[in-house]
């Protein structure tokens, strides 16, 4: 069999593994195997390329295989080592940042390919140039955007945006596209304009993500993810390489759908997220003027819990911020040792990424059967003595059910207000992700325990041990 045929078989297997892998990844019981399967297919495709890829020079009929092997293996070694170590070392709670970073790397890779191809071979066909320039643009946008998303999640970059910027952004896209079409037609004299495309795309990527609220980053990352997919597919078009094409397009379309699904889970529209409308508007909730809150001190809280039969913990974003998952688990164990039945009520969009709470609590070795889903837990809440809300806010906000004007109206919530007692642990009366007031805090059953979640939990544990 010719080398090129073997290569195509490798690519066919690779594409197959991507399809089946994605399918398996979307079901809980097969997700892990799906990931490994796709990784295997990727390995086959990469190895196949190095071993069997050939270029034929049509003029001389000469066949050239992949050269510069030392460089290639060196680069792969560096990438593998760095990628593996950083992926293994990153804290579970910093996963979204990590995904964003890796996504950016993919985008940059696509952009670099375009840069090199253009500068080395100066192709002159319109279609080919168009594809190269588009790959450069999309890859760069994805790279720059991902870096900003990373910065926001690391809380190093603040939200910033205005109505004017929206307009500028749109103009910029059209300007870049116009420029691309222009230089795609031209001959190689305009080739240096590629750097303008590169720079403008980077600026656009930055401006695109800047105004979007930090908490919306998972959605943005998912969107940039599908951008990188498209950039990869353009590479596949360029080299007539089917595995790049299928892999890229699959991710491009699946990523787009996933982005929409993620928005739906938060009861938002994609447009609403991308225009940064949420972080800008916010604050349109029921007024809570005239209502008063009641506080509870640590001793009373400890006593209330210790003498309860059933306690349910509702973890939220604040738990992650305070890195209080281990302390929380200890708190739960102490309570259990006093004969209290403790469960966790996990809301699907608690925290800042889907599954955030599961990941967080799993990291602290909370046994899986203790984690209950929203639908499972709600019917039992009226028989629950104490619901302890730790750093959660929106996911227990009754406005989602009662106030049609609220931005979270329609989102299913954990009905903490139906329990016998509610203790809310947070630092202040600060708002949550949606930026709205929460009537639950003013409920007669509710007592506030102010302070950092981790610190409060530690005090509670100490108190409990002395009860």
């Amino acid at each position: 069999m010719a080398n090129s045929d073997i290569l195509k078989i490798c690519y066919l297997l690779g594409s197959l593994s991507f399809i089946v892998g994605l399918k398996m990844l979307s079901r809980p019981d097969s997700a892990k195997r799906g990931n490994l399967f796709a990784a295997l297919g990727m390995t086959v495709s990469i190895a196949g390329t190095i071993l069997f890829h050939e270029n034929v020079n049509h003029a001389t009929g000469e066949v050239s295989r992949i050269g510069n092997l030392l460089f290639i293996f060196g680069a792969i070694a560096i990438g593998t080592l760095t990628g593996y170590l950083s992926a293994m070392r990153v804290k579970m709670t910093a996963m979204p940042q990590m995904v964003s970073l890796f996504n950016g790397m993919g985008g940059a890779c696509a952009a670099l390919i375009s840069l090199v191809e253009m500068n080395t071979h100066h192709p002159q066909e319109f279609g080919l140039r168009l594809i190269i320039f588009l790959g450069l643009m999309i890859g760069t946008v994805s790279f720059a955007g991902s870096m900003i998303a990373f910065g926001k999640l690391e809380e190093k970059i603040k939200d910033y945006g205005s109505k004017v910027q929206q307009v500028i952004n749109n103009l910029l896209v059209f300007a870049i596209l116009g420029l691309i079409i222009y230089i795609s037609q031209g001959d190689s004299t305009t080739d240096s304009l590629i750097w303008v495309v590169f720079g403008a795309s980077a600026v656009y990527g930055i401006l695109f993500v800047m105004p979007i609220g930090g908490a919306d980053m998972p959605v943005v990352i998912s969107l940039l993810n599908s951008f990188t997919g498209i950039a990869a597919a353009l590479g596949g078009f360029m080299y007539d390489n089917q595995v790049m094409l299928t892999g890229g397009i699959l991710v491009g379309s699946a990523g787009t759908i996933l982005t929409i699904l993620m928005c739906k889970a938060m009861n938002r529209s994609l447009w609403n997220v991308v225009s940064g409308a949420f972080s800008a508007s916010g604050g349109s909730g029921k007024s809570t003027e005239g209502l008063s809150i009641s506080e509870i001190n640590v001793t009373d809280a400890a006593i209330l819990c210790a003498y309860s039969q059933r306690v349910t913990i509702v973890p939220g974003y604040g738990l992650a911020v305070a890195q209080a998952q281990h302390t929380c688990h200890e708190f739960e164990k102490v309570l259990e040792s006093k004969g209290v039945e403790v469960t966790y009520a996990v809301h699907p969009v608690a925290g800042r990424m889907p599954g955030h709470m599961n990941v967080l609590l799993a990291e602290a070795d909370v046994p899986y059967p203790k984690l209950k889903e929203m639908d499972e837990v709600n019917p039992h809440l009226p028989n629950t003595d104490v619901v302890i809300v730790i750093g959660a806010n929106d996911v227990v906000n009754p406005a989602a059910e009662t106030d049609p004007g609220s931005p979270i109206y329609g989102m299913p919530i954990i009905k903490a207000n139906t329990a016998k007692n509610v203790i809310v642990m947070k630092r202040s009366m600060g708002k949550g992700y949606a930026g709205i007031e929460n009537e639950l805090f003013y409920d007669k059953k509710t007592r506030m325990l102010f302070g950092d979640a981790k610190a409060s939990l530690e005090k509670l544990i100490a108190e409990l041990k002395s009860v």
């Binding site: 979307s26 460089f71 990438g79 890779c109 670099l112 080395t120 599954g355």
Partner: protein, 107 residues
């Protein structure tokens, strides 16, 4: 200024159409394959998809593999591209694996 054979098959009328069909089918397949995923798998799925588009690394290997050994500009950028692509692939799959390990089976 010659079109190198790297683009040998490019835009011959047969290819572009076959590729369009691949495109059409892959777009729909991507949509269908994902459409019933539960919310809790959104993040691992995103991460897995992220690893898969790392297939772009193949492009960078092709670039590197056919670059003249004295073209330092191309070598440098190509080298960087392979490193970044590998990061995307390896990091992507490993992170996904770690995430999924967190979702132990409900007994």
């Amino acid at each position: 200024m010659i079109l190198l054979s790297e683009f040998q098959g490019f835009l011959t009328s047969l290819d572009i159409w076959d590729i369009s069909f691949i495109l059409l089918l892959a777009v729909f397949l991507g949509i269908e394959v994902i459409s019933n995923v539960p919310a809790i798998l959104h993040t691992p799925l995103m991460s897995g998809a992220n690893a898969i588009h790392g297939v772009v690394i193949i492009g960078s290997i092709i670039v590197m593999g056919h670059t003249e050994p004295d073209n330092y500009f191309a070598l440098t950028l190509g080298f960087l591209a392979v490193v970044l692509g590998t990061l995307n692939v390896v990091g992507g799959f490993v992170v996904t694996h770690r995430m999924l390990q967190m979702f132990k089976k409900k007994k």
